[in-house]
């Protein structure tokens, strides 16, 4: 499965309070949440992301609070995939569980510049930098995680598994 988008780069330790500040947690509509995606770092982010982007983080992307509203806001703002040197574990699981690919890609921050167009094949573990005509190999996701992403998230995946029984 492949996704494509323009890279928007952020630094190390991007926390969920800047991805979605606490005061917006009473919002339940994903479209409303999306309007505040990355509000702590860049209020113009939702406008930049609407045509489909790939968010790139450094180390420990998504640290802090367990709020699932953070990846939901990113996904509905137009983020196709998050690539980072490493993830905070709760953010990683949350992203996968709502069907937003999150891929640990060591060395990716030095191989990609802001604005590069990327194609990510998370099943094969390949990141193609189309702008720079370069390929990067990243860790493959375990097959059960790929299944969750293919199904569109954990709930859809679980429904499928329950119905099979």
């Amino acid at each position: 499965m492949k996704v494509k988008g323009t890279a928007i780069k952020f630094g190390d330790n991007v926390d969920t309070d800047v991805i979605l500040p606490g005061k917006y947690l009473v919002l339940t509509d994903p479209k409303e949440l999306a309007k505040h995606a990355m509000a702590g770092l860049d209020e113009a982010f939702p406008a930049k992301a609407q045509n489909g982007v790939i968010v790139m983080g450094g180390k420990n992307f998504g640290c802090g609070s367990s709020r699932e509203q953070a990846p939901i806001a990113l996904k509905h703002a137009g983020v196709q995939c998050v690539l980072a040197e490493s993830f905070a574990r709760i953010f990683f699981r949350n992203a996968i569980n709502i069907g937003l690919p999150a891929i640990e890609a060591k060395g990716v921050t030095s191989a990609v510049d802001n604005g590069d167009v990327l194609e990510v094949d998370f099943e094969a573990g390949k990141v193609q930098n189309i702008t720079k005509s370069k390929n990067l190999h990243v860790n493959k996701l375990p097959s059960f995680i790929v299944e969750i992403l293919k199904d569109g998230g954990l709930i859809e995946n679980l429904r499928k598994r329950i119905n099979k029984k």
């Binding site: 190390d12 330790n13 926390d15 309070d17 800047v18 500040p21 606490g22 005061k23 947690l25 009473v26 919002l27 339940t28 509000a39 702590g40 770092l41 180390k59 420990n60 640290c63 802090g64 609070s65 367990s66 709020r67 699932e68 509203q69 490493s86 905070a88 574990r89 709760i90 699981r93 949350n94 569980n97 709502i98 375990p142 059960f144 998230g153 954990l154 709930i155 679980l158 429904r159 329950i162």
Partner: protein
């Protein structure tokens, strides 16, 4: 095996597990609160299974936006009450509980050796009781509601061995801040952090909870401390369930660790995490920044022991005119105890406002938000940009003693120095 591996092996029906194994574990208890629970309920309904797997093993606690600060929050609370009633799940409502991570152990829902997940990142607090406890998101909580199971990767372990005796006004909060400063906010990413040593054995449950609570601030999956007589004494009378034997909940002598950190607290002084990262830690005596607000409370430091430390400093004193001081006991039980001990009167006489047991300003949702350009010193756990209100506010993290001393002087103050003046 270490304690975490032993609990994960038991929870997945195996005799042994190794670092990196992916296991399918049975969950002993799951907690959700008012900001993560409504999404979990919505996701659970989409799964289509009519009933939760075990309503005795689920706990819902309202603590973040309480009492309801808006109609939106009130609607979310209503959703949770309806779900709890329909599924016969226990729910701690406004005035009946307090902050989830204080209420869970107080009400006997945390047992040594248990595998606990919670839709809140500070669920790792329960490792203080020798449980494996970790934070998850709402969708995953819904899956646990339906199946009682969760996949987990067996983490690498870091052992932090702590020796020595704390000086006056130096606390477990100063220890954990110093450790995060040393290891970094990603120093324990994906890993378990196990605390051992003489200092830990002599530490109260309150102190152990502060340590385990903040392990997530160095990226850890869980923090854990082997249960002992201090654990047993705390849990006495709080649960009808028999406690498991503690012997199997000790790490083996040959348990493997990716890293061992030795720390001696004898010369440790009060520490402060400066804006806007929890690992930006410096001695309190070096900072001296003026403050607008002081906050004593949260799942990190809102326990009776914390309030006593703050009251010891504030007794007979006034907080500086220019400082708003908020005190929030972590639970109804802590609040009642503080009343009995006369601590609440010490706070109000000093010019502090005492608010009802809830998360309060810690997450910038409700009560005591900061304006642009303002500075707060707080006993809570995160000083990220925008965490407590404006993205242009500054948050410093410290112990209850340091926050109380700073409230008195109006500047960040080492409590040991306040005593001397």
């Amino acid at each position: 095996m270490n304690i975490t591996e032993k609990i994960l092996a038991h929870a997945s029906g195996k005799t042994t597990v190794h670092t990196g194994d992916i296991i399918d574990a049975n969950v002993d208890m799951i907690m959700v609160h008012d900001l993560t629970g409504p999404l979990a309920v919505e996701a659970f309904k989409r799964i289509g299974t009519p009933n939760v797997w075990n309503n005795k093993k689920i706990t819902i606690i309202l603590d973040h936006q309480i009492p309801a600060e808006s109609v939106k929050a009130a609607e979310l609370h209503k959703t949770l009450r309806q779900f709890a009633k329909q599924q016969r799940i226990r729910l701690y409502d406004v005035g009946r509980g307090g902050i989830c991570h204080q209420v869970m152990p107080e009400k006997g829902h945390v047992l040594p050796g248990a595998l606990i997940v919670g839709a809140d990142s500070h669920t790792c607090t329960y490792g203080a009781f020798g449980a494996f406890a970790t934070g998850i998101g709402s969708t995953e909580a819904a899956a646990v509601f339906a199946t009682g199971k969760i996949w987990l990767k067996v983490p690498e372990a870091i052992k932090i061995n702590v020796e020595g005796k704390f000086q006056n006004h130096v606390t477990p909060k100063d220890l954990i801040l110093a450790l995060i400063g040393k290891l970094g906010v990603d120093g324990a990413i994906y890993k378990t952090v196990e605390f051992t040593g003489e200092t830990i054995r002599n530490m109260s449950m309150a102190g152990r909870m502060t340590l385990c609570n903040m392990t997530v601030e160095m990226g850890a999956k869980n923090g854990i401390i082997a249960p002992d007589t201090t654990t047993r004494d705390f849990l006495k009378g709080r649960t009808a369930q028999p406690l498991p034997p503690f012997d199997p909940l000790q790490s083996d002598i040959d348990a493997s660790y990716a890293k061992t950190v030795e720390f001696n607290v004898t010369n440790l002084t009060p520490q402060v995490a400066c804006p806007s990262s929890v690992d930006n830690v410096r001695p309190a005596s070096e900072i001296n920044a003026p403050i607008d607000q002081a906050f004593i409370g949260s799942c990190t430091n809102g326990r009776i022991e914390d309030l006593r430390q703050a009251a010891q400093i504030l007794k007979g004193k006034q907080v500086k005119n220019s400082v708003r001081t908020l005190v929030i006991p972590a639970s109804q039980e802590v609040y009642t105890q503080a009343l009995r001990e006369g601590l609440i009167e010490i706070f109000t006489a000093a010019g502090a406002i005492v608010c009802g047991s809830a998360c309060g300003p810690c997450l910038g949702g409700h009560i005591g938000l900061l304006a642009s350009g303002e500075t707060c010193i707080s006993t809570s756990n995160r000083n990220f940009i925008g965490r407590m209100g404006s993205t242009e506010a500054n948050v410093y993290l410290a112990s209850p003693a340091t926050v109380a001393a700073s409230a008195v002087t109006g500047r960040i103050t080492d409590p040991q120095k306040l005593e001397a003046t």
